[in-house]
């Protein structure tokens, strides 16, 4: 008799044990559905179970999942399951191939199983918006930056990765994927290698020995500072900066911020009062001169542009700078000059570089020294203007 009981399971599974009326095994069918998903996104498997004798409500449905990709499978952290009726919703927190088994058991303990293979893939990081690195700090009106000055760069856009940071709610589970952001200088015009440092919202961190052409940042909101080679001050060159975003599996790269550096352009006088030219003046009257407009690529009128005033006497044959004078207006007391004397009053605009016109550029006796500067229309820049005065 003992041997008979041992045979029971075999008989039951073979459907040949008829203890009662003939029982049919329940049926189960997993309807076609999504069998691929990205990590972190819920996936629902629907199974239709039935039984000839017990009906759909008389069966017990169970789902289970196993990894079939030979990778370690942590049931607590790699997957979250939820069963509701015939729906089995499962969220995977790692990529791989999984098998879901649906088992239906009727009241007579007859069980039928069916399986479906699920492929869980990684969502790649994506740049959204413009997805381009862009210069934050202002460039000059010529579109250039000053070599050696730190230039701040930010991401114009954002990075999206659907499965970054997701993890199971079970205690102790952590994300197996976080995004890593790295700013990188991809191209530079020569000279010393540029470096990147963090920008704290107001200032650039100074480069250190550890600074280099790449810089890891914690998020995409952080601006970084590009330090260019100050020795390029007289040349023109372009730096390219990108942001790499990696989820550990895929690395994507933003569009590049192309940052040009160029030489500081000379400031230009755009207007004077009176208009520069030749005048006969009353030598008993103080004469006033104004610069009423000046432009520069990096400095502004009355904000960074200063002036050098100088006076020429034919009797001396030399120009004399008005010492310690940088205002845009000048008054000249003529009472110490001679009857009928001819004078020249000149104003030259200086920007932050305080560079005078090189002697080879304009001869001292030229009344209107014009140089090239992209700060002005037609690239014609009046570096200095001169009033010729005859005192009568």
């Amino acid at each position: 008799m003992k041997g008979v009981w041992a045979l029971l399971p075999l008989l039951a599974s073979s459907g040949c044990l008829f203890l009662d009326t003939l029982n049919h095994a329940p049926t189960i069918d997993i309807s076609d559905g999504i069998t691929t998903a990205i990590k972190g996104s819920p996936l629902t498997v629907h199974a239709d179970a039935n039984d000839d004798e017990d009906g759909p409500s008389g069966v017990h449905l169970e789902f289970s999942v196993v990894a079939v990709d030979d990778q370690p499978f942590d049931r607590n952290c790699d997957v979250e399951e939820h069963t509701s009726g015939g729906n089995y919703t499962v969220t995977f927190y790692r990529t791989g191939t999984f098998e879901v088994t649906a088992a239906v058991t009727d009241r007579d303990h007859a069980t039928t199983k069916t399986r479906v293979m699920l492929s869980i893939t990684d969502a790649k990081p994506l740049f959204t918006g413009n997805g381009t690195a862009a210069q934050s700090s202002g460039h000059d009106i010529c579109g250039n930056n000053t070599a050696g000055d730190p230039i701040t760069v930010h991401l114009d856009g954002a990075v999206m990765d659907e499965d970054a940071g997701v993890h199971a709610s079970f205690a102790g589970c952590s994300a197996n994927e976080t995004l890593r952001y790295t700013w990188r200088v991809t191209d530079w015009p020569g000279g010393s290698k540029p470096t990147l440092t963090l920008f704290d919202g107001s200032t650039c961190a100074a480069p250190t020995a550890a600074s280099g052409a790449t810089l890891v940042v914690p998020n995409t909101l952080m601006h970084v500072c590009l330090w260019t080679d100050p020795m390029l001050f007289s040349g023109v060159g372009m730096y390219s900066v990108v942001l790499d975003a990696s989820d550990g599996t895929t690395l994507v790269t933003s569009g590049a911020a192309n940052i040009t550096v160029g030489p500081d352009q000379p400031p230009c006088i755009t207007g004077t009062e009176p208009v520069a030219g030749s005048y006969v003046v009353d030598r008993t009257q103080t004469q006033s001169f104004y610069v009423d407009g000046a432009v520069d690529d990096r400095d502004g009128f009355d904000a960074g542009i200063s002036y050098v005033w100088s006076v020429y006497r034919a009797a001396d044959g030399t120009w004399t700078d008005v010492p310690n004078y940088s205002l845009s207006t000048y008054e000249l007391d003529l009472s110490s000059f001679g009857v009928g004397e001819k004078l020249k009053v000149r104003v030259e605009a200086l920007d932050r570089t305080l560079q005078r016109v090189p002697a080879a550029t304009c001869a001292p006796d030229v009344d209107d020294c014009t140089v090239s500067s992209c700060a002005t229309n037609m690239n014609v820049c009046h570096k200095w203007k001169t009033w010729d005065l005859e005192l009568r």
């Binding site: 208009v275 009423d292 004399t320 310690n324 009472s335 001679g338 009857v339």
Partner: protein
Amino acid sequence: MGPRASLALLWLLPLWLAAGCFAGDDTTATPASDMGTAGGADMGAGCTLVDVMATDAQGAMTTAAPARLTASIDAIGASGPHWTLTHTGDTMPTPVTVINPMGYAVQADVTRAGTWTFSVHFDAGPCTMPRSITLDNPMGATVSYRFRVLPPETSGFPLYETTVPVTGGMSGVTQNLMLLPGTPVSGTLRLAGTPTAGEVRLIAGDGPDAVGLADKNGLFKLAVKSDIVYTPLLIPLPAPGSTTPPAGAPHLGAAQTGIKFVGAPFDIPGGVAVGGSVVDGAAAPIAQAHVVLRAGALPSSTGISDATGAWSLYAEAASYALSFDAPDWPQATLANVVVPAAGTSLAIAYTTSRTAVGGSVTNDDGTAAAMARVTITSQPLGNVATVSVGGGAAQPAAGRVVRIVMTRADGTLPPLQLPQGTYHVTVEPAGPSLDGLTAFNETVGSSPATWTLPLAKLAPLDIRVVGLDGKGVAGVALTAIETLGLGAAPTGATDAMGSARLFVGKGSPVQLVVEPPGSTNLAGTRVAVAADAGSVTVMLGRGLLVTGAVQSPTGDPQPNVRVEALCDGCGSTTPIATSISDNQGVYRIYLPDPGNVLVDGGAVD
């Protein structure tokens, strides 16, 4: 409030929010000119306007201080009114007294003129608009300032001036400045029928001159105000690149309104020749003497003597002041020199004796100061020459020495011949230098003299700027303009204690330009500081803000326009305050508060 009213208010809530309500005190920062009926019609549209009135001691309506100001608002059902009364220019609000059980009306007795602004907001209630009222100061003195507006050359607008009255005790003045293109005038400047380069100056009877520069073809253009009377001054000049003076005299034409210059000829008759000679006391000719005649605005051309002492110039027939000088000789003048229509001659003979003067300039460290600029001026010397006009009797001409020389490479002065007298000598080192302008007083007697002129380092000028409360004012921009030499102008700003130190030349008086930040509501000033003063304390008076927009005729804001305030009645031709319009065309000038009219009590001894 019943449930129905509450529901109604809840229904209105989104509308209030959409209308920008609950702006709270932010609205009180709006300039007075933007409030109430004065403008800004779209601000707070749909919100309830505060009603304001001013009454005098008898309860009659008034527009002058002192006054009782009463403000009210129609806001039945609103709760928790919070009133604010501000006086433009004050940093703290003025207390008000609630006179309505629900707090919908308040009053305040004020004594000061100016603009007072009531604003109110509710804990629960409608949004509101502030309302301002400006009280006149019946005792306020009024000073008229001339505002000179200098648009950038590139703007195409000519310079123009307007008068701005400022009354003491007021909060400020709003004065928009509209640039006007003027009436264009163009033409050809001709000398005796031939186009000539030169200067076309239309001297305005009221306001700025209109000036044009004629090119070598005589072509010029300028702009005038059509209704202003101008007197044309036409001055022929050498063509650009040429040094040959034109053979003709400047011409002063007939005054007429600007519109009449449109299409008018600009012809210079040429005047008549005036010749003469310049000799010394021994009748030896003096070369390179310069001779000029001037009759008011009308100058002659310049005569320059040759090796024989002969010179010639051109002048229109008129009565002139004669001026002449020569190297190593004093400048001299003689009034009432008549040039008749047929021309005349002027025989100039120096009569003063001179003494040889030499010397040298050294730097503060004792080294030779090369290329130092040395300005030598004497006290008036009395008669230094005689002038015979048209062969007539010799007339004495008074004069003084005015000379500028440069030191040689070894720091020595070029040889000088100077009349006996007292001299003021100003030495400016060639820049850049650690030394500064240094002034000396020297005397020349009958014996040859050698001047030793050591430059000194710049001297500190300690400046303290205080406000009406005697406390230091921080952030005051300072410019110390030396009034000797070419006029160095070191700049700086006061520290938190209102102190600053500038370095100025030794022996040079200074015009100290003091420009406080607008936030202080103090007026800037110019202070004359004596030479070597060492320190100066400047007390700033209450300022009245004059502000407005510089606009084109179409209302476009005009940035970078210099606006200068000149006070013709203050005894100075220099601007007392300057502003440059910002990107919105707005300028801001703080002028001294003129205060109140001083009333003569009529008491007699």
